[in-house]
Point group: C2
Chain length 379, copies 2
DNA sequence: CTTATTAGTGGAAACGTTTCCATATGTGGG
DNA sequence: CCCACATATGGAAACGTTTCCACTAATAAG
């Protein structure tokens, strides 16, 4: 671990419990007892102490307390980015729940970078946070998460589907993505692309893709083409152009989050195409502005704020030793929101399709069919 | 001050510097010196200590350090809400700057509530944050800000125009609002309303209003009607309906932030009116989605992320004792962004105007004229 | 009038770190 | 050979709090 020699640090917190004790003419233990109501004290003492506190303007140093009590009343909150309103809302919800319970929130944005994620968790651990609420890049392979587990620090995942034994507030990405597939199928689409951040920086994207692939299979559609992009891709236009060129039969794109979906719509327009006439778009998350754009964005509606609130309360429960009660049902925590960006496939483009779809046989053992098909072209 | 008896707290941080010292067969002082490179040490000692650290998996407790060094490497960040992307972006920018400098960020959202703001600042002070970046409800009357000042904690305001002697990253609300007035005037508008959160919860709103009033005066327009709403107003539709009824000559509304502007557009539509044909709308902030809605939102374009970054760097400078260098020029940090929501006033509505505008005399002493006019109907 | 029991109180240890100071051990110059 | 002097090292104090323990004084029970 990298450590620095300590520099700077200004003088503050001039009045300590000792000053109060001296001023009130008693011992520090008595002051502590009075202020914390943690033991017996005479009326006279109480009054003198309170007067001293008032006069001196005393406030406890949480640092001193933390050292002694091994409790910082601070929670670490790790998310990829606040630029995406999903995380901003979730953080707000969590922060508020924690604040109301007397806990403060240490926030870190990782920019989807596992390196930063690990470093952040290490630092927060050194600061002895009492718990974590976090969205990691990959819940099954996060070293940071492992560190938290090994230290047995109370924690709850957010937007990451829970590996076994983990608490988590998230939607069931897989089944939600299948619902999206159903929506496309219902409108007559047979080949829909999937647009997402690199899977290594977001296991949500991967799970949504897997669900979408599975859904496409069940609906007898063509296996979705995949376009993975970097978080900071500036050349989205080019990438999408190439994506469309490579997949001429594609009549729609499922974007792994609303942010991407809106960006995709802009790119598509700049290519001179029309949404939804030339290409349908569906997003994921249900951010507010999706309803205000034209056409409105079809998407999976979630409630990030409630998720943040729920995750926070779960962590608080763990801390208090009471088993978390209202754990969410991931399969219930989303719904499909229709929108103008998803339209029936137009005749011309539908005619284009040349690639064979799955045989819509009605009785194969799903599992077998699925794995066979998957093996076809999985990395 | 409210204090609680301490409860809970699990056992952690099992390995301390003492364990390392014992394992390495030396004193704790030596361990500290080696790890912090804060004094001489022999090669052999260094090696033994490093080996012990590795073997035991030792990490410093920041709590212990904080107590001793009077430095927490933690910054308090107080903003009204993350639901507004302006603050979300600013927080992200600040958090990143702090992280790169080795500081963590304690975040509090106040929901525009001065009560919560004060409580938050008190708590963060007790936690001995090394600095603050904050947006307060009223920079001139914030008790929290006064507390920070009296304790001489390094800090920088964000989005609050700086009272004298304060550091601040913000736009010049007043002059930006005047620019909005110019834009309205240029399109032939003579009576434009102002929509904002209650001034007591946002001095930005007040300053924008004042600038807008001044600009309206200079442009020879009618004094803007004012609609103040609560943060959590559910009945915006009714309020706006009433607002329009009371001010029949109004041809546009300047909303104190983009969030409000978008909400207003929705309300206006739900009243069966069209933007911008029946009413023009201009916002403030320049959030990204303003460009994606239809019609696009005319607004004041700002760069919240840069503001957050700048404020953070200012605080870091203060902490390091180097005078903050690149302090921003508030009058340069915004620009007007045209958009479809602001259109020339239509003939029919322009005819409507009955109320006398200011005489557009070309030579009155502006100041006098202004104050006279103000006195007319100021509260 | 003793003797348990209790309420009230303060001293001191402990939490994990840094840093001052004192003590060793060496080195070089007189 | 001795003295100054630097280099290594560890003990202990300090940071602000809580809490254990010992102690006093008062009250209740015998």
């Amino acid at each position: 671990m990298e450590t620095f020699p300590y520099v700077g640090g200004i003088v503050r917190q001039p009045v300590t419990i000792k000053d109060v004790a001296h001023y009130a003419g008693c011992g520090v233990a008595s002051v502590s007892r009075v202020l914390n109501r943690s033991g017996p004290s005479s009326a006279g003492l109480r009054q003198r102490v309170l007067a001293a506190v008032d006069e001196l303007g005393f406030e406890f140093s949480e640092v001193g307390r933390a050292l002694q009590s091994n409790t910082t009343r601070t929670i670490g909150c790790v998310v990829p980015s606040l630029a995406n309103p999903v995380y901003a809302d979730a953080v707000q919800g969590a922060q508020e729940a924690f604040r109301m319970a007397g806990y403060q929130t240490l926030l870190v944005c990782t920019n989807y970078d596992p390196e930063i994620e690990m470093q952040a968790i290490r630092t927060l651990t050194a600061k002895q946070v009492d718990g974590f609420v976090l969205t990691v890049s990959d819940a099954r392979a996060s070293d940071g998460l492992k560190l938290i587990q090994s230290r047995e620090i109370p924690h709850c995942l957010l937007f990451n589907m829970a590996p076994d034994g983990e608490y988590s507030w998230s939607v069931d990405d897989c089944s939600a993505a299948m619902a999206v597939s159903d929506a496309f199928a219902e409108k007559g689409h047979r080949h829909v692309g999937f647009l997402a951040l690199k899977f290594k920086s977001s296991d949500r994207a991967r799970q949504r893709y897997e669900g979408f692939v599975e859904g496409s299979f069940r609906n007898g559609m063509i296996k979705p083409a995949l376009l993975e992009i970097e978080e900071d891709s500036q050349n989205l236009n080019d990438l999408i152009k190439e994506f469309l060129r490579t997949n001429p039969t594609m009549t729609g794109i499922f974007a792994s989050n609303d942010f991407l979906a809106l960006a995709a719509i802009r790119s598509i327009r700049s290519l001179g195409m029309n949404v939804p006439r030339d290409l349908s778009i569906v997003g994921f998350d249900g951010i507010e502005v999706g309803k205000m754009v034209e056409p409105s964005l079809a998407t999976i509606l979630t409630d990030p704020r409630m998720m943040g609130d729920g995750a926070a309360k779960t962590v608080l429960s763990i801390i208090n030793g009471t088993p978390p009660t209202d754990t969410p049902d991931p399969t219930q925590s989303y719904s499909f929101r229709a929108g103008g960006s998803l339209a029936p496939v137009t005749a011309e483009r539908a005619d284009d399709e040349k690639v064979a779809a799955f045989s819509s046989s009605n009785n194969p053992t799903k599992k077998n069919a699925k794995s066979n098909w998957r093996d076809q072209n999985e990395i």
